[in-house]
């Protein structure tokens, strides 16, 4: 099926999970990545079970923070 990842078209297997997509995309430091699907924020506890659908738009956002 076709989805959009970080603004770019991608073809992935039907029903792929968020966790599997993160692994396939070789996302660095996945423990610090926030995922949105169609602008909805996905809780990291749901990465293993949340599946994607045709046409979904996925974004990976890195945690950005620091301190003095």
């Amino acid at each position: 099926m076709k989805i959009t990842v970080s603004g770019e078209a991608a073809t992935v297997q039907d029903g792929i999970t968020v966790a599997k997509l993160i692994a396939e995309r070789d996302v660095e430091n996945p423990q610090y990545v926030t995922v949105t699907i169609n602008d909805d924020f996905i809780h990291s506890d749901d990465f293993e079970t949340k599946t994607l659908s045709e046409g979904d738009q996925v974004e990976f956002l890195y945690f950005m923070g620091g301190g003095r």
């Binding site: 926030t34 974004e59 923070g65 620091g66 301190g67 003095r68």
Partner: protein
């Protein structure tokens, strides 16, 4: 560290950054930088202010909803993400240990604006990789 770049921004962008940082005092302020790369130079074309959801003078965490909005705006404008910035209200313009520990993207430039002397803000850009930070050339004109 060979990935160090030159970062270029306008005086107006610098002023915008300072104004936002001062408006956020006593809290740290933060934001994202969008623009383009020409050779080894990152040319900032837009500064995106992002909410610091920590709301303290000692830490910052960027609001994911603001990050998402900024990423989409960058994409719509044909920009690429160049890095981020945050303020140090009471400390110098240098990466703290926490800044280095939480710098996950070695391709990003990390700009730190010190307001220790609010009348003389100091801005430096850093390339951070692991626990190593290297000052990048920064052009403000």
């Amino acid at each position: 560290m060979s990935d160090s770049k030159t970062v270029s921004l306008t005086a107006q962008q610098f002023d915008e950054m300072v104004a936002h940082a001062k408006a956020c005092l006593p809290e740290e302020a933060c934001g994202l930088l969008g623009g383009r790369e020409e050779g080894d130079t990152k040319i900032v074309t837009h500064i995106y202010n992002v909410e610091n959801i920590d709301h303290t003078n000692e830490h910052f965490s960027m609001a994911p909803k603001d990050q998402l909005a900024a990423v989409k705006q960058m994409r719509a404008a044909g920009e690429v993400p160049l890095g981020n910035w945050h303020s140090h209200p009471e400390t110098p313009s240098r990466p703290s240990n926490e800044d280095k520990r939480l710098a996950y993207d070695s391709k990003a430039s990390y700009l730190i604006l010190s307001l220790m002397d609010a009348d003389q803000p100091v801005l430096h850009s850093f390339h951070i990789e692991g626990d190593q930070a290297e000052k990048e050339m920064l052009i403000v004109e």
